[in-house]
């Protein structure tokens, strides 16, 4: 195998064709993930992050969708494969964990069957052997009393336990890459920490690459090597995790970063909100799609779409008037004053 990245996404576009025109959910995304590395994909609702994950997998509705561009996994082009060929790869080499464990598990099938099915399909082993492995798997994802759990149905488990089961299923065949789409959004904060730690441990043990899709900057901060920030179907900033937090350039990244309240901040701090609402993906105007909500936007931002520009090793951003070094501190101090105009744009 060549020394190239495990996953390469090149100019991927996914448009949903609707009565209102094309909804450009993913609109020209390129990225690469090396073996064993973790990429965080951060964005709000409507940023296209979930559709991106599904487009990489090839899990899209069959009608009224237009997908362009190329997804290469381990040297093979997924975008050209038939559903039968994809099924050989799904679960075996490339797995996915979804946001809602209740809907991704079949409610009428016992846990055991749901785990052994994947293994028997991909590994061609006998039921008894698959069961023995399933017990081991459940134990490794931290489920106590796995023999009993195998005989239970999904509704008999708590939300966190269910997500552990979906992770066990995703990991059953030792995949080389896991796409985790908001795996903890539906869970409580203490359970979220457990599930994220579990993913991290399993990743280290299996030397697996991971794409972690989330809306929460906190979730990706300590757990990823690189972060891609998405807005309106595009990557607007891509950087090694530490660089992104210390040296963010794109105005949206900055605004997002400032708008989140932190548990360590003293109370009653006025938040620096981003005015307006997330963009309508069916009506793309020329220019930067964040311009309508950006307090630094000037004429050029409305007219020309900024390209992804290099800012350093592995660091790219798309902004005409980016954050400059040293500006962050100065701005943070004056933020409470400039924040009064927030949110009044309807």
């Amino acid at each position: 195998m060549s020394g190239g990245a495990l996953l390469e996404v090149d100019a991927l576009r996914t448009h949903f064709l609707t009565g209102r025109g094309a909804v450009r959910a993913v609109d020209g995304v390129s990225l690469a993930v090396e073996r064993g590395r973790t990429l965080g994909v951060v964005g709000e609702s409507g940023s296209g992050k979930t559709v991106l994950a599904r487009s990489i997998m090839g899990l899209l509705p069959t009608t009224n969708v237009r997908r362009e561009g190329r997804v290469t996994f381990d040297g093979r082009e997924l975008t050209g494969m038939s559903p039968a060929e994809l099924r050989e790869i799904w679960g075996a080499e490339l797995s996915m964990v979804f946001q809602d464990p209740m809907t991704s598990l079949n409610p009428v099938v016992r846990i055991g069957r749901q785990i052994t099915e994947t293994m028997r399909f991909h590994l061609g082993i006998r039921e008894s052997e698959a069961r023995a492995r399933a017990v081991e798997l459940l134990r490794s994802v931290g489920i106590p009393d796995p023999e009993r759990r195998l005989r239970e149905h999904p509704h008999q488990l708590s939300g966190g336990m269910r997500q552990r089961v979906t992770i066990a299923i995703a990991l059953a065949c030792g995949p080389r890459m896991l796409l985790a789409d908001e795996p903890t959004t539906a869970l409580d904060v203490t359970v979220q920490a457990q599930i994220l730690n579990l993913l991290g441990r399993q990743q280290r043990e299996l030397h697996m690459a991971m794409v972690l899709v989330t809306h929460d900057l906190g979730v990706v901060a300590g757990r990823t090597d690189d972060i891609a920030v998405m807005y309106a179907g595009r990557i607007v900033e891509l950087a090694p995790t530490a660089v992104l937090f210390s040296d963010m350039r794109m105005r949206y990244t900055q605004a997002l970063f400032r708008s989140i309240p932190r548990v360590t901040d003293p109370g009653h701090r006025r938040l620096v909100a981003i005015g307006g609402r997330p963009p309508d993906l069916a009506a793309r105007a020329p220019g930067c799609s964040f311009a309508p909500r950006c307090r630094y936007a000037r004429d050029r931002c409305w007219a020309e779409t900024p390209p992804l520009a290099d800012a350093g090793p592995g660091h790219q951003f798309a902004c005409w008037y980016p954050v400059e070094a040293g500006e962050a501190e100065a701005d943070a101090a004056s933020a409470p004053l400039s924040a009064t105009a927030d949110g009044r744009r309807i």
Binding site: F16, T18, G19, R20, V23, A25, E44, S45, G46, G48, T50, V51, R54, L59, L60, P61, Q99, D100, T103, D181, E182, T185, A186, H215, R277, P278, P279, D280, L281, A282
Partner: protein, 294 residues
Amino acid sequence: MAAAAPAAVTLAGVDGDGEAAYVGRRLGSTFWISAGWVALVVLAAVLAGVLPLQDPTAIGNNAPRLGPSAGHLLGTDELGRDLLSRVLYGARTSLTVGFAAIAFGLAVGGAIGLVAGYYRGRLDALFNGLATVLLAFPALIFLLTVVTFLGQNLVDVVLTLGVLSVAPIARIVRANTMVYANREFVLAARALGARGHRILLREILPNVLPGALAFSLVAIAVVIVAEGALSFLGLSVRPPTPTWGGMIAEGGQVLAQDGLVALWPSLAMFLTVLALNFAGDRLQQYFEVREGGL
């Protein structure tokens, strides 16, 4: 769509504001053709008196069993009555029974469903028990018994079929009411101090009504078929008043000689029932989609 809400690959999941769910929110041509047919039949039935039609009950005006011609577009029957005129006047009976019975069912069943679904409790349990018994009771036997004892006039037929439609309509309205009663806007209205009847009329009814009306179209179709069956058995409105079921029964006796006599009323009933079903189904989906987008 919120960050915390499950994001499936639906269009709503793609769009930040659920607006995409409104895409393609059209009723479609099937609905409009169906609605057009029903409107046409209703119009013809209403205007039957002023249209240049022969008396549908007058015997011997024409030769019996004429084929379709310029004078008699659908021909005449065994007794020389104009079939077009009889089909249109028959529509009067069928539609009157259909609409009136369901209007009754909607008024009574809708009110019961709203109250039971909103207040729940003992009242609801009582209603539920009654509805279950009523639904389990063989409708045809009930019909036969009532019509036999009460007599065979329009009002009795309407009331009987109307009573039979109360339980199913009440069930549907009750189920929808329960869905809305748990929505937070109802809680908000209670928190504002609104009384029960105000909440029922202002908050819940406007949401439940469209679905109930859509269901009613399908229910009307069922009643029209039921009325047809009754008249076929000679238990609906007495002859000579033309009814579709009655005409089919008469036509059935001369089927070998002249199939058209039975064909026209059958066709009219079939198309009307089909159109009502199509229109009702489509409307129900339409309102569901609307809801889904919210």
